[in-house]
Structure formats: C-alpha cells, structure tokens
C-alpha cells in the first residue's frame, strides 16, 4: 500500500523565519511527487517533482526530490503571515492516476 508521511505535523514560526517541511514516501512504480498549499478548502498546486536533485523554485518557495532516499523537502524562506496554511505532499504512481496524500503540515506564521 502506498504511503506518504509528512513532518512535522504542525509548526509555528515568526515572520521572516525559514522553514523546511519534510515528506517521505513509499510507492510502487513512482511517477511524481506533488506539493499543495491548502488555506481553506481547495488545495492549490505548488510543485510537481519527477527527477532527483533538480530544485524547483517559485519566489520564496523551493522544493527538491531525492528518489534514492524517497523523500522531498519544501523550503519557505522569509516567511510571511500569508504563508500560514496546511502544506500537503502527494505521490502519484505510474500504475494508476490517483494521488496518495500525507496528513499535511499545519504551518502558522505569526507577525
């Protein structure tokens, strides 16, 4: 059974801090790993990673995948209160199109 584990489950920081969110996975026939940000109901897409060692970057957010060690990290630098959200990690397999999600990391950024 495919499995995704995220850590920490919750994190409270101050504005300006840098945070690293972790995602480890076990999946048969790995195809891709995705990061989403969920503020209210709809998860919004952040990154899709398919290759090891290639960093994806968007503004203050970046992510990298290690397919040998089966994990990914999501970095957020110079955090802002608007970064407060649940960050979800998901993996997709070539054998099917479903995504398997982790429980998420609840990030709170205080002013």
């Amino acid at each position: 059974e495919d499995k995704v584990v995220q850590s920490p489950l919750s994190l409270v920081v101050h504005e300006g801090d840098t945070v690293t969110l972790n995602c480890s996975y076990e999946v048969t026939n790995f195809r891709s790993l995705l990061w989403y940000k969920q503020e209210k109901k709809a998860p919004t897409f952040l990154f899709m990673l398919t290759s090891s060692g290639i960093e994806k970057k968007s503004g203050r957010l970046s992510s990298i995948l290690d397919k040998k060690e089966l994990f990914s990290i999501l970095n957020i630098t110079a955090t802002q209160t608007g970064d407060s959200a649940i960050y979800l990690c998901a993996v997709g397999a070539t054998s099917g199109s479903r995504l398997t999600f982790g429980e998420g990391t609840q990030l709170t950024v205080n002013p």
Binding site: K41, R98, F101
Partner: protein
C-alpha cells in the same frame, strides 16, 4: 471555465437522506478525480474517471457511494442513505492525462 467548480459549497442533510454533489472540471481535462477530507485528515482518494469511464473506483468506501461522468465533463457523486461518518469535505480535481491535478473549492457535507 477558468477552474474546477463544485456545487453546492455546503450541504447539511439528515441521516438516511441521499445527496448529490456536482463537479465541473476544467474544460478539456480528460481526467477527473474525487477525494474526501475528514476533519484534520489528509485527502482520501475515492474514484478516478478517464473520459466517461472509471478505471479506478477502489476508494469508494461502500456501495452507498456511486459516481458518474457524462459527456467527458460534469461528474456527480451520489451518497445514498447518508451516515454521520460521511461528513467531510468532498473535493474534485481534474487534470490532463496524469499531470498535476487541479482542485475545486470542495463541498462541505454535514450529516446530522
């Protein structure tokens, strides 16, 4: 439309009633997915459509749950004889083939 839309945004029903949840995917997306998210939990896969067929419906929790998709577009998720444990946010997503999935705003279902 510009994104995935879902209706209703909120639904309150009594135990034992049937409910229908609707999803309009992004135009041109052939793949459509239903997930649900219980309070404080991650997303749980329910069913996947490719066109109008459902090659993977293994996530449906019981035979009270069914879904259909018509015209390769709109999908309806039906829950019969609702139970309190069905209370959750039901999320729909669409994608082009097997690329990144884009989510709708969800339907919050509350079964009293």
């Amino acid at each position: 439309g510009a994104g995935v839309s879902q209706s209703p945004s909120n639904k309150v029903t009594e135990k034992g009633k049937d409910v229908e949840l609707r999803c309009d995917p992004i135009s041109g997306h052939t793949a459509l997915y239903w997930y649900r998210q219980s309070l404080g939990q991650g997303l749980e896969f329910l069913i996947y459509f490719q066109g109008n067929s459902a090659p993977d419906k293994s996530g449906l929790p019981s035979d009270r749950f069914s879904a259909e998709r018509t015209g390769g577009s709109v999908s309806t998720l039906t829950i019969q004889r609702t139970q309190q444990e069905d209370s959750a946010v039901y999320l729909c997503a669409s994608s082009e083939q097997r690329n990144e999935q884009f989510f709708g705003p969800g339907t919050r279902l509350t079964v009293l």
